[in-house]
């Protein structure tokens, strides 16, 4: 198994009507052995910007700490929060700095930009940005996730329907992957509130 499959992960983000949802699995493993079932892969940068990181768990944590640091500096200098598009460029630049010794993770960035327009993008481990209008996926279960999202996604869903769709897509995809699953973590973000939910999934 490759180094990207060492810990196992699944992250997905979807766009709705003036809202977005980002979800991940909760397993931390060492190859086939499960070590923890409450690993945090999605982190808040500010109230309208979330980043989910899949891949090697140590790089997930380190990269998140670096990005929070850079965003806090930005807030002090500019006296405002970063726009999602700007943040995506920042992540891409930080990843490319380590072109010849990369962080072994694939980020998924989701945020609400100007006029509460939802923004999602994903990147490979050296910073190649991939913008999408509907959904982005990453992790060991990414192929199953592509299939599930393609089948279940509809444009302009409201927050509750978006939550149902992204949860179903995540749970059905990780049930076909040995290395991810053991529950789910979903954030649905609208202009006024953030709803965080834990999903009950198959624990095998």
């Amino acid at each position: 198994m490759s180094i990207f499959e060492y810990n196992g992960s699944a992250v997905v983000a979807m766009v709705g009507k003036n809202c977005f949802a980002i979800a991940s699995d909760r397993r931390l493993g060492v190859q086939l052995q499960t070590i923890a079932t409450d690993f945090q892969r999605i982190s808040k940068i500010h109230d309208h910007l979330f980043i989910g990181l899949s891949g090697l768990a140590t790089d997930v944590q380190t990269l998140y700490q670096r990005l929070v640091f850079r965003h806090k500096l930005y807030q002090l200098r500019e006296e405002r929060d970063m726009k999602p598009e700007t943040f995506a460029s920042l992540v891409s630049a930080i990843l490319y700095e380590k072109r010849f010794g990369p962080y072994l993770c694939q980020p998924v960035i989701a945020g609400l930009g100007d006029d509460n327009k939802p923004f999602i993008c994903t990147m490979d481990s050296i910073g190649a940005k991939e913008l999408a209008k509907d959904f982005v996926v990453s992790g060991t279960a990414s192929e199953s996730l592509y299939g599930a999202c393609e089948a279940m996604f509809k444009p302009d869903m409201e927050a509750e329907e978006l939550f149902e769709t992204i949860s179903q897509a995540l749970l059905s995809s990780v049930d076909r992957d040995c290395l991810s699953g053991w529950g789910g973590h979903v954030y649905v973000v609208t202009p006024n509130e953030i709803k965080e939910r834990i999903l009950k999934g198959r624990m095998d």
């Binding site: 499960t34 953030i194 009950k200 999934g201 095998d204």
Partner: protein, 272 residues
């Protein structure tokens, strides 16, 4: 011109009436397999061994107790990281009083267990009595030994009830054969052993033993990524084997560890 009649040959040898064939005294003739015609035979064998991937991603267990033998297994088949099936039958019914478990290559286990069933039946017909568990496991072990090094992947347990009582043997593709009271085979076996060894007593009832077996498989499916699906439990007693239960481990988790509903259901944050 001599015609090529190789297509008419079968792998099952035909016993002529009255002939003292080798089949009748237990040393059956080996099913003959064609060997590949390549320039690099060893390299080809090495690649095919890697392809079969003798990783044995599964959890199976069996133990002897006062009332017979308890056999249990999960039902997941994985190809690397991908789950190819959650409903594989890993406990193979060799005959009405003997069970075999499957770990390793599915094709290898299915074929050789069926082959063993054939040999056991032939033994019964020839000797007018059932074969012992010891004899059956020895037949399988000798067969696998003759294919040693050729990349078969079989980690099986033969469990049954014969005239001497309950019997349990572990047989693997190296040709090893071990007699014992408790075995667990597969990538999830360390986790299953933990639960099995701490809860085991010889004088358990059938219900207690089946609960122990189910719990051991459940814990292995929780920790091991390559095990999951359905936990099947079989009991082998003096009358033969009987399937006791087949529980989905996803539901078993919430049965053993129910989720208590919390008062605050969602965390709501006001965004400025």
């Amino acid at each position: 011109m001599k015609l090529d009649t190789s297509g008419f040959e079968t792998t099952m040898p035909v016993i002529g009436f009255g002939s003292s064939s080798e089949m009748l005294d237990g040393f059956s003739s080996v099913p003959s397999f064609d060997l590949p015609r390549t320039t690099d035979f060893d390299g080809f064998q090495k690649k095919s061994v890697e392809m079969v991937k003798p990783a044995k991603g599964t959890t199976t267990l069996a133990f002897i107790f006062k009332e017979g033998v308890m056999v249990a297994a999960d039902s997941r088949a994985s190809m690397g990281g991908y789950i190819s099936s959650q409903s594989v039958k890993k406990i193979i019914e060799i005959n009405p009083y003997m069970l075999g478990t499957m770990a390793g290559g599915a094709a290898d286990c299915q074929f050789w267990h069926r082959n063993l069933g054939i040999k056991c039946r032939l033994h019964e017909l020839a000797n007018k009595r059932r074969i012992s568990v010891s004899g059956a496991s020895k037949l399988l072990a000798n067969m696998l030994y003759s294919y040693r090094g050729m990349g078969l992947s079989v980690g099986t347990m033969i469990a049954g009830w014969d005239e001497t009582g309950p019997g349990l043997y572990y047989v693997d593709n190296e040709g090893g054969r071990l007699k014992g009271d408790r075995f667990s085979v597969g990538s999830g076996s360390p986790y299953a052993y933990g639960v099995l060894d701490s809860g085991y007593r010889f004088d358990m009832s059938v219900e207690e033993a089946s609960e122990l077996a189910r719990r051991s498989i459940y814990h292995a499916t929780f920790r091991d990524g390559a095990s999951g699906g359905v936990a099947s439990v079989y009991h082998v007693g003096p009358q033969g084997w009987k399937k006791l239960s087949g529980d989905d481990v996803g539901e078993l988790h919430y049965h053993y560890y129910p989720v208590a509903p919390t008062t605050a259901e969602h965390e709501m944050a006001e965004a400025t």
